[in-house]
C-alpha cells in the first residue's frame, strides 16, 4: 500500500500545481480518476467514479476568487476510496466532499501565510533582483506540490483500512442513500452555472436543450452543436439588423 499511496500522492502534487498553474486541467476528476484507477489496478471503476465526481464539480469554478470545495483532493480521495472500499461510484461523493471542504480551508490559510513574502519581493524589486522574484515563484509552486502530496498521502495510507471497515458494517439503506444523493449532486453544479447565466431572455435556449435531451435523448455533443447553431444564427441575424439600420429611414422592410 505504501507504493500506491506514494504514487497517488505524486499525482495529487502535480494536479495541485495544475489547479493554479499550467491549468491544462489534468487536475479534474475526469482525468485523475482513471489514473488513480490505474495505480490501484481498476481503471474502469476509476474512470466511472471520476466522471461522477466531475459532474458534481462541473459548475464549481473558482469564480472571482470564491473558492469551491477542493476539486483535486475531492476527486483523488473520492476515487481512491471508492476503489479501495468497493463502494458504489455514486457513494464516493459522500466520502469526497468532507475532505474537499477541509482542504479548501487549508488552502485559504496558505494564501494568507504567503502574503508577508510580498514585502520581501518589494525589497527585491528595489534592488532589481529579478532572480529573487523567480525564486519566490518556484518556491510557491514547490510548497503547493508538497502540500497536496502530504494531504493525499495521509488519508490513503492511514485511512484505507478503516474506511473499508466502515463501509462493510454500514447498513444497506445508508450506502444506497448515499448513492441516491450522489445521483442528485450534479444539480448543484448546474445550479451554480445557471446562477451566472440565467436571465429571462435566455429561457428559450434552456428549454430547447432540456427537450433535446429528455425527449430526443440526444448526446451532449449534439446538444452543444445545436447551441452553437442557434448562437451563430443569432449572431448573423443581429449583424444583419445592425447593417440595415442606416438604410431603414425610407421604411423599407426586407420581408421580415
Amino acid at each position: 500500500m505504501l507504493f500506491e499511496a506514494l504514487m497517488i500522492a505524486l499525482l495529487a502534487g502535480i494536479a495541485g500545481v495544475d489547479l493554479f498553474n499550467g491549468l491544462t486541467h489534468m487536475h479534474r476528476p475526469l482525468i485523475t480518476g482513471p489514473i488513480v484507477g490505474f495505480i490501484l489496478g481498476d481503471v474502469q471503476t476509476g474512470l466511472i467514479t471520476g466522471a461522477s465526481l466531475e459532474l458534481v464539480w462541473m459548475g464549481m469554478a473558482p469564480l472571482a476568487g470564491a473558492q469551491p470545495p477542493n476539486v483535486v483532493i475531492g476527486g483523488i480521495i473520492g476515487v481512491a476510496f471508492a476503489i479501495l472500499t468497493q463502494a458504489e461510484p455514486q457513494a464516493a461523493i459522500g466520502i469526497a466532499v468532507p475532505f474537499a471542504v477541509a482542504v479548501q480551508g487549508l488552502i485559504t490559510l496558505l494564501f494568507t501565510a504567503f502574503s508577508p513574502v510580498m514585502h520581501r519581493c518589494d525589497e527585491m524589486a528595489a534592488k532589481a533582483d529579478w532572480k529573487g522574484i523567480d525564486r519566490v515563484n518556484y518556491m510557491g509552486m514547490s510548497i503547493l506540490f508538497s502540500f497536496y502530496f502530504i494531504l493525499a498521502f495521509l488519508p490513503i495510507f492511514f485511512g484505507a483500512e478503516q474506511a473499508q471497515t466502515v463501509v462493510e458494517v454500514a447498513p444497506e439503506w445508508l450506502m444506497s442513500g448515499l448513492g441516491v444523493a450522489g445521483g442528485l449532486m450534479p444539480a448543484i453544479g448546474f445550479s451554480m452555472l445557471m446562477k451566472i447565466m440565467f436571465k429571462q431572455s435566455y429561457i428559450p435556449y434552456f428549454i430547447v436543450g432540456f427537450l433535446a435531451a429528455a425527449y430526443l435523448e440526444l448526446p451532449v455533443i449534439a446538444i452543444a452543436l445545436v447551441g452553437i447553431a442557434i448562437a451563430l444564427a443569432d449572431y448573423f441575424q443581429s449583424s444583419r439588423v445592425a447593417a440595415q439600420v442606416p438604410q431603414q429611414a425610407g421604411g423599407v422592410n426586407d420581408g421580415i
Binding site: M60, G183, F190, S191, M192, G209, F210, L218, I223
Partner: protein, 296 residues
C-alpha cells in the same frame, strides 16, 4: 452573462486603481532612459506566454497574482530596460496588486510590454493594467469556467460513463486546443496591436458573451435531463388499483420531470445565496432519508 454596465465597470476600475496604489512602492513616474527600446522578437513574446503559466505560483491575498505576473514579464523587461534603476522602477510597478483571468492574462501582458518598450509613463501603464484586468476577469469567467469547461467536461463525461478512455482524452485535447491557442495567440496580438487592442476587444465582448450564454444554457438544459438522477419507487394503493407514481404519473407527463423540478428547486436555493455546502448536506440527508423510508 455576468457583465456589469460600463458605469459599474468604471467604479470597479477605480477601486482596482486604489488597491494597486495602496500596495505600490513606486516613487518616479518616468523612466530615466526615455529612448524607445528595440522591438521584442516573436520568441520573446512566446517565452512570456510560457512563463504566464506560473501566474498564480505565489498567489496570496495581499497582492494576488502580482509576483507571478512579474515573473512572466521579467525576461522581456530585462531586454527593454538596460539600466538597473529603470528595471527596478518597472519591477516595483509590476509588484502592485494584480488579479485577472489566468487564460487571458497574456493579452494584457502583450499590451503592457508594448507600452514598456516605448517607455510610457508608469502611471499610464498602471492605468491600462487596472482598467483591463477586471473586464478580462469577467470575460474569462464567462467563456472558460462557464462555457468551455462545462461543455468539454460534459462530452468527456458522457463517453467516460460508457467506460471509454476516449472521454478524458477528448476533454484534455479539446480544452487545451482552445486554452493554448488563445494563450499564445492573444500574447502576440496584444503586443503587436498595443493599446489599440483594447477598443477592438470592447466591441466584441458583448457579442461574445451573449453567444457564449446561448450555448452554455442550451447545454445546461440538456445536462439536467441527462445527468440528474431521480426516480421515486413510491406505489400508491388506490382502492383496488395500485399506482406506481414514476411510471403511471410522472413519466406520462414528461420524461425527466423530477430531475427538472429538483434542479430548479436547488437553483432557487443557490440563487438566494445559500452556500453550496449546505445544499450538499441537505441532499445527503434527503438521499439517506429517502432510502431509509423506501420512497427513493
Amino acid at each position: 452573462m455576468a457583465f456589469e454596465s460600463t458605469l459599474e465597470m468604471d467604479a470597479k476600475a477605480e477601486r482596482m486603481l486604489a488597491k494597486a496604489e495602496a500596495t505600490s512602492t513606486v516613487v518616479a513616474d518616468e523612466y530615466e532612459d526615455q529612448a524607445p527600446a528595440a522591438e521584442l522578437t516573436r520568441k520573446d513574446i512566446t517565452r512570456m506566454a510560457w512563463r504566464s503559466l506560473a501566474l498564480q505560483a505565489s498567489f496570496n491575498y495581499e497582492r494576488m497574482q502580482a509576483a507571478g505576473w512579474l515573473y512572466g514579464l521579467i525576461p522581456s523587461l530585462r531586454k527593454i530596460h538596460k539600466n538597473d534603476e529603470d528595471l527596478s522602477r518597472s519591477m516595483k510597478l509590476h509588484m502592485e496588486f494584480y488579479n485577472t483571468h489566468p487564460f487571458l492574462v497574456t493579452f494584457i501582458m502583450g499590451i503592457v510590454l508594448a507600452m514598456e518598450k516605448s517607455k510610457e509613463r508608469l502611471s499610464v501603464i498602471r492605468a491600462i493594467k487596472v482598467a483591463t484586468m477586471g473586464p478580462m476577469g469577467g470575460i474569462g469567467d464567462a467563456l472558460f469556467w462557464l462555457t468551455l469547461l462545462p461543455i468539454c467536461a460534459a462530452l468527456g463525461i458522457s463517453l467516460a460513463m460508457e467506460g471509454s478512455l476516449a472521454g478524458p482524452v477528448l476533454f484534455l485535447v479539446l480544452f487545451n486546443a482552445v486554452h493554448f491557442g488563445l494563450r499564445f495567440g492573444l500574447a502576440h496580438y496584444g503586443y503587436s496591436a498595443g493599446t489599440k487592442a483594447i477598443s477592438a476587444l470592447k466591441e466584441h465582448t458583448q457579442k461574445l458573451s451573449h453567444a457564449a450564454t446561448i450555448v452554455g444554457l442550451t447545454v445546461v438544459g440538456g445536462l439536467i435531463a441527462t445527468f440528474v438522477n431521480l426516480n421515486t419507487t413510491l406505489v400508491l394503493e388506490v382502492g383496488q388499483a395500485t399506482v406506481a407514481l414514476q411510471q403511471d404519473l410522472f413519466d406520462p407527463i414528461m420524461p425527466k420531470l423530477l430531475p427538472l423540478v429538483f434542479t430548479l428547486g436547488v437553483f432557487s436555493f443557490i440563487k438566494r445565496g445559500v452556500s453550496p455546502l449546505k445544499v450538499i448536506g441537505g441532499i445527503v440527508v434527503l438521499g439517506i432519508t429517502g432510502a431509509y423510508l423506501g420512497f427513493l
